[in-house]
Subunit: 313 residues, 4 copies
C-alpha cells in the first residue's frame, strides 16, 4: 500500500497529513477543532479531503483521546469531546470514501515512535507520553496491543498512591497526578510557595507569585540552575522512573520511550528518570535492563502513527 492520511485531533487543532511508507509527511493541513460533534466530523472530513487532494491515498487513520473500541471504529468515551459511543469510523468513511481506522492518540503516537522513531529495531516497546496528563502505548512482538476491548495502555490511571491526589477520572492517586506536565507545575508552585528564597529565578520568570508560574518557566528556570525548578524535575523523575520500574516488572520490554512535552527537556528530565528507574527496578542485578529513550518524532508521532496503522489495515 502506498500513501495514507493521518489525522491527529487535538484540543484546539485538527492536524491531517499525507504520509508515505517510510513515515515521511508529504503534506499537512491544520484546522481549528469545532466543539459540536457534528461540526467536528465535518471538519475531520474536510481536512482529509483538503490534504489528500492530488495524492493517491488509500486509507485514513485518526488518532483521538479516549477509549476506542476493539474494532477501531467507535469512540466509547472521550475526555474532552462530547463523544459517547460515537461511530466515528462509519461517519468519516461515509464522508471521505476511504477506509478509516480510529485509534487512541497515545497508541498512535507509540506506534509512530516504534515504527519510525526511537523504537526502531525493538520488538517490545513501552511508550509513555508525559504531556498535560500521562498516556502510553504497548508494542509486544512487533504489534500494537490494544487489549481485548481496545482500552489497554491507560498508564496514567494506575494507582501509585493509595488515598492520593484526586484525578479527573474519579479515582485517587493515579500516576498522571504525579508524573505529567501538570504534576511538574504543581511541584514547582508548591515549592516556590513554601521556600521562595530557593525559587528566585523561577518566580522572576512569571509575575512573582507561585500561582503565576507556568510550565515553560519551570524548564527555563531549571536550565538556569534554579534550585526549586531542578528539584521539581527531580520529583517528577522520581515518580516517572518508579512507574517505569513497575512497567518493567509487568511487560519486560527492551526499551521505554518517553515522549510528550515534558520530554522535550531531554536529559534534564531523562537523566533523573533513568536513575530512578534503576533505583526501583526489581531484581536489577539479575536481569537485562530496558533502555530508557527519548522520543524522536515530537508532536508528529501521533499523526504518523495513525497513518501507518491505517496502512496496516
Amino acid at each position: 500500500m502506498g500513501l495514507t492520511i493521518g489525522v491527529d485531533i487535538g484540543g484546539t487543532k485538527i492536524a491531517a497529513g499525507v504520509v508515505d511508507e517510510e513515515g515521511s509527511i508529504l503534506e499537512t493541513c491544520k484546522v481549528p477543532t469545532p466543539h459540536a460533534t457534528d461540526a467536528l466530523t465535518e471538519a475531520i472530513a474536510d481536512a482529509v479531503r483538503t490534504v489528500g487532494a492530488g495524492h493517491h491515498v488509500e486509507a485514513v487513520g485518526i488518532g483521538a483521546a479516549g477509549y476506542v473500541d476493539e474494532k477501531r471504529a467507535t469512540v466509547l468515551f472521550a475526555p474532552n469531546i462530547d463523544w459517547r459511543h460515537e461511530p466515528l469510523k462509519d461517519k468519516v468513511e461515509q464522508r471521505v470514501g476511504l477506509p478509516v481506522v480510529v485509534e487512541n492518540d497515545a497508541n498512535a503516537a507509540a506506534w509512530g515512535e516504534y515504527k519510525f522513531g526511537a523504537g526502531q529495531g525493538h520488538s517490545d516497546v513501552i511508550c509513555i507520553t508525559l504531556g498535560t496528563g500521562l498516556g502510553g502505548g504497548i508494542i509486544i512482538g512487533n504489534k500494537l496491543r490494544r487489549g481485548r476491548f481496545g482500552v489497554a495502555a491507560e498508564f496514567g490511571h494506575i494507582r501509585v498512591v493509595p488515598d492520593g491526589l484526586l484525578c479527573g477520572c474519579g479515582n485517587q492517586g493515579c500516576w498522571e497526578q504525579y508524573a505529567s506536565g501538570r504534576a511538574l507545575l504543581r511541584y514547582a508552585r508548591q515549592r516556590a510557595f513554601a521556600t521562595p528564597e530557593n525559587a528566585q529565578i523561577l518566580l522572576s520568570l512569571g509575575d512573582g507569585t507561585s500561582e503565576g508560574i507556568q510550565g515553560r518557566h519551570v524548564s527555563e528556570a531549571a536550565r538556569q540552575g534554579d534550585p526549586v525548578a531542578i528539584d521539581s524535575f527531580r520529583e517528577l523523575a522520581r515518580w516517572a522512573g518508579a512507574g517505569l520500574a513497575d512497567l518493567a516488572s509487568l511487560f519486560d520490554p527492551s526499551a521505554f520511550i518517553v515522549g510528550g512535552g515534558v520530554s522535550d527537556e531531554g536529559e534534564l528530565v531523562l537523566g533523573p528518570i533513568r536513575k530512578s528507574f534503576r533505583r526501583w527496578l526489581v531484581g536489577n542485578q539479575w536481569r537485562p535492563h530496558a533502555q530508557v529513550l527519548a522520543a524522536q518524532l515530537g508532536g508528529k508521532a501521533g499523526l504518523v502513527g495513525a497513518a501507518d496503522l491505517a496502512r496496516q489495515g
Copy 2:
C-alpha cells in the same frame, strides 16, 4: 505431538506428570526437593525418567520460581534455590535425552488455566496466583507473553504503597506484601492482637495467641463467621481488587483468573475481590468489564501448563 512431561519444582516437593494433548495427567510422581543444585538437577531427571517410563514422551516442560531467560533455557535467578544463571535446559536435556523447556512457574500455571481451565475461550487473560506470595502470567492474543528478556509478569513486585512494607526483593510496598497468603495472615494476626474480643473463633483455632494463628485458621474462622477473619479477607480483597483494576488499565483482558491457595476459599475471597475491582476500575461505566474468575486446576495448573508449553516447542 502426543505426550509430554510437566515438572513443577516446589519448595519441598518436585512433581512430575505425563500429560496428554487435552491436559489430562496420565501418571505422576513426587520426590523431595534436594537443597544442593547438582542433586536437584539429578532429582529432576530422575523424576522425568520415572514418570515417563512406559510412555512415548516427546518433550519436557519445567516450571520453576524465578527469572527464566528469553530462550526458556537458563534460570537467571531463583528466590529459594541457589540458581544464578543456571543452564537448566541443557543440564536436564543431557540427562533425559528429550527437548526441555524451562518456564517461570506462575507463567506455566497461567498457561495451564488459559488452555485447560478457567481461561478457555478467552484470547486475552491475566492470571494472578495468590499463594505465599503473588505471581502471575499474561496471555495476549492466545500467546503467553514472557517479555523481551523472559521476566515479564512479575506482578507481585509492582509498588502499590510508596514507602510501604519491606519486600524480600529489596524494595518497599510491593503488591505481594498486601495481597497474598502471607499478607492475609499478617492482617489476621494484627487484628487479633489489637482486638482479641473480635477474634474469639480465630484465636480458639490456634494456641490462643495472635502469633499462633496459621493461614488455615483464617479460612476456617471466616467460614464460621469470625469478624476479624472476615475483615482480614476483606482487606486482602481490597488490595487484590485494586491491583486488578490497575492491570485492567494496562492490559484490558477479557478475564482475570485468580488462583493460588488463597483462592481455594472461592466466593469468600472472590466476591470481595470483584467488588473492589469494580470500585477501582477506571472508566467503569464506559468500558466492557473483564470477568474475575476462580482458577479451576488448583495445584496442577503449573505442571499441566509446563507440559503443554513443551508441546508447543
Copy 3:
C-alpha cells in the same frame, strides 16, 4: 466575676450570647456576617451591645477561625475572612468599652466542652471538631494549651498521607481531607459513582446522581441502611480513629471529645471511631485507654467557651 459575653463568628452568622458562671446562656442574638473587615468589626460590636443591654457584663470572648496570637489579641491569619495581623481585641475594646479576649474558635469550643460539657471531671482532654474541616483544642492540666505563639492544636493539618490529597493550606495529605464532613461527602460520592447499585437509598435522596448527594443525605441514608452510606461513615471513622491513636501517643489524655456536625450522628460515627482508635492505639494492652466521648454542647460550645475564657481573663 459574673456575666460575660461570648461571640462566635461563623461564615454566615455572628452569634453573641450572655453567659453566666455555670455556662448557661441567658440571652443571645444573631446578625449576618459582613464581608468587609470594617463592617465586620462594627457588627461584632453591635452584637455585643445588643445582647449585653440590661446585663452587667464584665468581659467579652470572641471565637474566630484562624491563627490568633499568643496575647489573644491579634488574628494573624483567617482562612475565610480578610484578616491579616488584625488587632481585633483593640478594635472591639474601643467600641464596647469592655475587656476583650480573642480565641481560635475550635479552642473556644474545646474549652466549652471541657468546662461545661463532655469533658467535666477530666484534667487532660483533647477535643476534635469534625465539621466541614477538622479542628480541635488541647486541655492539659486543666488549662487550655495554645502553644508558645498561640497557634497550637491545628489538628486538621497534620499529614496522614504523604503525597495525599491537596489541602486548602497548600500541603498534601492533611488529616482534615480524610476525616471531616467534606471527606465524608467525598467518600459517599465516589462510592455511589463507582457502585450505584449499592447506593440506591443514598442516590434517591438527592437528584439521582453522585454529584447531587449532600451531607445530610449520607446521614439519612446510613440510618436507613444504605451500604454505601454506612461504608462512607466507616471510612471516615477509620481515619478519625487512627488519628486519635496518634494523638494518644502524643498527648495521652484521659478523654477525647468528638464534636462538630459529623458527630451529631452519635453512635453511627462514634462507635466505628472507637473501634478504629483501639485498633491503632500503640501498646493498647499496657496502658489505660482514653475514653472517646461525644460532645454535649453542640453548636453552642464555641460561644460558651469564648465567654468563659474571657471570664478567666
Copy 4:
C-alpha cells in the same frame, strides 16, 4: 535541695551520676545491665550506693525506656527488659533508702536539655531523640508533660505512612521507621544495593557489600561526599522535618531540640531537617517559626534530666 543521683538504664550499661543544682555531674559510675529483673534492681541499687558514697544525696531519678505510670513509680511495659507493671520506685527505695522517681528515658533527656542544654530560656520545647529509634519529650509552660497516664510523647509511634513499614510495636508506618538511626541505615543499604556505583566510598568503609554497611559508615561517607550517604541523610531529614512540622501544628513550641546519635552529625543532618521543616510547616508565612536546635548534652541528657526531676520531687 542539693545533690541528687541520676540513673540511666541502657541496653548494655547502667550509668549513675551525682548531679548538682546546675546540672553538673560530680561523679559517675557504670555497671553492666543484667538480664534478669531481680539482678537488674540490685544493680541499680548498687550503682546508686557506689556513686553516692561520700555525697549528701537527697533523691534518685531513674530513666528507663518504656511506659512509666502517672505516679512515676511503676514501669508498665519496657520494650527491652522483662518489666511488666514493675514497681521499680518501691523496690529501689527499699534498697537505697532515698526517695526515687522513675521516668521514661526520653522524657528525662528532654528535661535535661530543657533545663541545662539547648532549651534554656524556652518555656515550650519539644525534644526528639533520633537514636536507634525515635523518642521525645514535651515541655509546655516550663513543665514536663507526661500525659494523664504517664505515657505521652511517644513520638516514634505516630503513623506517618498508612500501610507502611512494620514496627516493633505491632503497627505499621510508625515515624521511627522513617526517621531514626535504623532508618538511616536502611536508606543507605537500599541505595547502595540498587546503585553501588554511587556508593563507592560508603561501600569501601565496610566489607564492600550493602549489608556490611554500618551506621558510622554512613556518617563518615557523607562527610567524604559519598552521594548515596548524603542522599540517605536527606531522606532521613525529609521525614524528620515533615514530622516536626506536624508537631508544630499540634504543639506550637518555640523550639525543637534534636538529640540522639544521629544528631551528632550536626549540620549534616540539622540543615536538611530545617529545610524540610519549613517546606511542610503549615501557614509558614503567617506564624512565628520554632527554632530547630541541636541538643547540647549528648548522651548525658538522660542522666542529668533524671537527677533534676528527682530534685523537683
